[in-house]
Structure formats: structure tokens, C-alpha cells
């Protein structure tokens, strides 16, 4: 039986050294034995890939950012429903009530961003804010 921390984690150390040695070894061997040919054709995208045009650093609308952020938030929250659905039977009423609270919270958040116009792709969001009574 391993007794101290050092002994317990010794296999991990061996594993790490082996992994690094293997990676370094394979790279060295392929560098020593392999042929190296560099030309324009080899630098092109592989097979049916699209030949790049222009720069990747374009400007695009900040609305994408907002929608992407809202998507991530609601996506992650909705993901919680899946494991719940799987163990629904075991959780019984408790699981149902807890999930109900959770879904109500999500829906009120959804209702809020909807009403606030965060999902309006057109300029409606701005108009609504200006029209509101002060």
C-alpha cells in the first residue's frame, strides 16, 4: 500500500514522463526519417477546402454579440433539463417542483429580454426605449 503522497502520485509522474517522451520521440523520428517538400500547392487548403480570400478580421454588427451571449446563457440553462428528464422518475415530486422553480426563473429572464427588445434584430429596441414615458 502506498502511504505518502509522493508514493501515491508516483504512477502519475511516470505516466506524464512516458507521455512526453512518446510525443517528443515520435516528432523526432518523423523529422529525421520523413521527407520535407514545401511548395505553393502544399500550402493550399486540403482537398475540397475553400481557398481563402481576404482577411479574417472583418467588422460585423455588435448585435451578433448580444444574440450569441443570450444564446449561450439560455442554452446552458436549457441543458439542465436533459439530465432532469432522464432521472425524472427517481426524483418524483421534489424534482418536478424544483425544476418548476428553475423554469419559472428562466422564463422570467426570457420574458424580460424579449420585452426589453434584446431580440429585435431591427432598430426597434432603440425606438422603444425613447418612446417610453420618463
Amino acid at each position: 500500500m502506498p502511504t505518502s503522497y509522493t508514493e501515491m502520485y508516483f504512477p502519475v509522474l511516470v505516466q506524464a514522463i512516458l507521455a512526453m517522451a512518446l510525443a517528443a520521440g515520435l516528432l523526432t523520428v518523423s523529422r529525421l526519417l520523413g521527407k520535407r517538400v514545401r511548395n505553393r500547392v502544399k500550402d493550399l487548403p486540403y482537398e475540397s477546402g475553400i481557398v481563402p480570400t481576404g482577411d479574417a478580421r472583418q467588422r460585423f454588427s455588435v448585435k451578433f454579440y448580444l444574440v450569441a451571449m443570450l444564446f449561450i446563457v439560455f442554452d446552458i440553462e436549457a441543458i439542465f433539463l436533459y439530465p432532469w428528464a432522464v432521472v425524472y422518475r427517481d426524483l418524483r415530486m421534489v424534482g418536478f417542483v424544483e425544476m418548476l422553480v428553475f423554469v419559472i426563473l428562466i422564463l422570467s429572464g426570457f420574458f424580460y429580454i424579449w420585452k426589453k427588445g434584446a431580440l429585435d434584430w431591427a432598430a426597434g429596441a432603440v425606438d422603444r426605449k425613447e418612446n417610453r414615458a420618463p
Binding site: 426524483l91 421534489v94 417542483v97 422570467s108 429572464g109 420574458f111 424580460y112 420585452k115 426589453k116 414615458a133
Partner: protein, 486 residues
Amino acid sequence: MPISFPTTLDLGRFLPEILLTVFGTLFMVLDAVLQKRSKNLFGHLTLLALAAALGASLYAGSEPGPAFGGMLVVDGFATFFRVLVLGVGMLIVLSSYRFLARENAETGEYHALLLFSLAGQCLMASANDLIMVFIGLEISSIASYVLAGYLRDDKRANEAALKYFLLGSFATAFFLYGVAILYGSTGTVKLDQIHAVLTGPNAPFPVFVTLAAALMLVGLGFKVSAAPFQVWAPDVYQGAPTPVAAFLSAAPKAAAFAVFLRIFTTALEPIGTAWEPLAWGSALASMTIGNFAALLQSNIKRMLAYSSIAHAGYVLVALTARSDTGTSAAMFYLAAYALMNLGAFAVVTHLSGKGERYLTLDDFAGLAQKQPFTAAMLTIFLLSLIGVPLTGGFFGKFYIFKAALDSHLVWLAVLGLLNSAVAAYYYLRVLVMMYMHDPSQAVQEAEPLSHGLQLALVLPALGTLFLGIFPNWVLEFAGHSAALMK
């Protein structure tokens, strides 16, 4: 493990957090639905919500005990900090009415965020489990980041929010890393069980536990703006809307100190000798950097930010004492500090004018001639911040340095006292400005105090004097709950 419904007792002990969350969510929905509303509606509703949560805290505190299988514990300590942060919330709401109207800001989201932040802080106060601490910390912080940038057309507010968010998430990661290591070496996240493991026969390798304590110290040190993790504070307090800066300097700080005290004096007490030097160094650095940097400030919000760093240093002195006296001194000091600091910030809110134009020390010139009442209130707060007798600040400092001496931290006490002598200079400079100069532009333009601001000045002033004249009442409660926490 079968899952069962939380008992009524669990829910009763968790009621303040439930109320704050329900009201916060309700505000968001109301804000989206209501087209026409009176501009003070949300302020009034928030006061109602906070009063309800305060009642719930007292109710939960009347029947102390653990909740949710020991993940939360409602003891005197938790009740003290819950009441403290909810009181801070009320004062912030009172001083925000005029501010929000002046800056033409939306009121619904502001108050909803305030409630969410307070819910996180109440959770931090009662958490007895590192995961709960972390969740509370995050709920409180994320709402605070948004509040710091609430005036989103203001460039300084944007800068403040971004800095606060980036550095804050970084610090939270440190805290979480500490939690992970502590869990890895003790096998539990419950504070009482960690204490049991550390004192038991199978105590883990001390290096890991010390490392965990150091990492948690970094994370929490950031949240309480203790040196050397204080650099964000002046920029954030300066850029954030003034009521929000006041809030940040009081409520999240008090809650973070609650967590600090609970973790380090219960769970990590067995390795106290290992973390004591770290806390000692941080306390001294905070006091020194805070006070000396405050001497050089011409912006009042930056000055108060550095003073808040220095005050965090004083509370850390109490933590370093590692005794019940130290814990109760820290609790007393945080209450006194919250009151006097909120009062001082309320005067800044009042005087700064639309768009927060007037924030230099010179703008306070001649305040006593035009508005003697406001000047008198600010005098009380500044004297308390200096630590003059008959104010809460005096007894706060007195108990802290007494606790330090009881624990034989003579050098720290001496250096702390020298520091508070230095601090007197920059507070007195404001007093001299108010009483001995001709009125400035800001003072000429200042409107009379609104009812909300009057309350936001009178209540903390009364509180400060009460703590200064009858300190025993609060101190005995603090001492009692500090002793029971173990």
C-alpha cells in the same frame, strides 16, 4: 441518497435570500411590463422588499441552527451580517432616489440588481460550506459588476465596470482554486468537517492546506480590497456611480469579511500559525498603502477608496489576532465603518451635481456656510472615520487594537495606531475646506437635500453616535455570536 423536500425549517432559515430573489425577479418583469410608472415606484418597492428580508433575517435568527443539511448555518454571526448588508441596502436605496432621477437612469434594473447582489451577500453571511460561499460570492459579484457600469453612456463607468469584472473574475478563480485544493486534501467542503479533518489523526499534508489558505486569502483579499490586491478599488470607486461606489465599499466588503472570518477562524484555525504571517503582512500593507496614498488624492471618491483600503487593513488586524475578541472587534468595526462610510458617500452623491462634475476636495469649500446641516453630518462621519471618541469609529479601532494586543501583536498594533494618526490629516483637510473657505461653485449650485438623502444622512449619523456612546449592546452581541461560531 434519496432527495426530499426541504423542510419548513430549512426554508424559514433561507427566507431572506428567497424574498430578495423573488422581489428582484419580480422587478425585472415589472420593469419590462409597466409602461407608465411613478419614478420612485421601484425605490419604494425595494425598501419594502428589504424590510421584509430584514424581518425574515431576524425571524430566522430567533431560531438559530443549520439548514439544508449543514450547507447553511443561521447563527448570530450570520444574522449580524445579514442585518448589516440589508441595512446598507436600505441606505443605498435612500441615497439613490435623487441620483437616479438626476442622471435620468432606469430605476427598475438598478434596484433588481441591488437586490440580487444583496441576496448573494446574505448567502455569504450564512454559508457554512465552501461551495455555498462560492455561489454567494458570484451572485454578489456579478450583480456588482453590472451596477458599477450602470451609467453605460459614461466612459469612466465603463472603464470601472470592465476593470472590476476582469480583476474580480480573476480573483474568484484564485478563491476557487484554493477551494479545490482544500477539497482535494481534506475530502470535504463543509467548514466544520474541514476543521475536524485538520485536527484529526489523518491530517493532510500541511503544505497543500497552507497553499489552499493562501489562494483563498488572495481571492478574498481582492474582494475586501486589501493590499496587495487593492489596485482596482480607486479606479472602480471613482468611475462607478457614487451610490454604487458607496454600496461596493460597504456591503460586498462586509459580506466578504464575514466569509473571511468564518473560514479562517473556524475551518482553517488549526493551521492558524501558517496563515497568520500572510494576514499580518496584508493588514500592515493595506493600512500603510491606503493611508499614505489617500494623502495625495484630490478626488474625493479616490480618497474615500484609499481610506476604504486602509479600513480593510484595520479589520485584517482583528483577523490576525485569531481570537474571539478579534472576531467580535471586526464585526463591530464593519458595522461602524459601513455607517460612517455610507454617510460620507451620501454627501458626495448630494454635492457632485448632474453628471458627477464636482468631485474634487475643493468643491467642498464653504459647505458649512450654505448648508450647515449637511456639513455637520459630514463632520460626524469624518470624525468617526478618524476615530474620535463618542463615535463608532473610535470604539471600533479601540477594540481592534485591544484584540491585537491581547494576542501579543504589539508591533502590528503600534504600526496601526501610527497609521490612524496619518489618516487624520486627509479627513481633517475636508473639514477645513468645509468650514474655513468661501463657497465653491459646487456648493453654490447644490440643491437642498431631498427627503431620501436626509434620511440617508441622519440614520447613519445616529447609528455612528449610538455605536460611539453605547458600544456594549452591539459588542456583546458580536462577542456572543463569535464565541458560538466555533
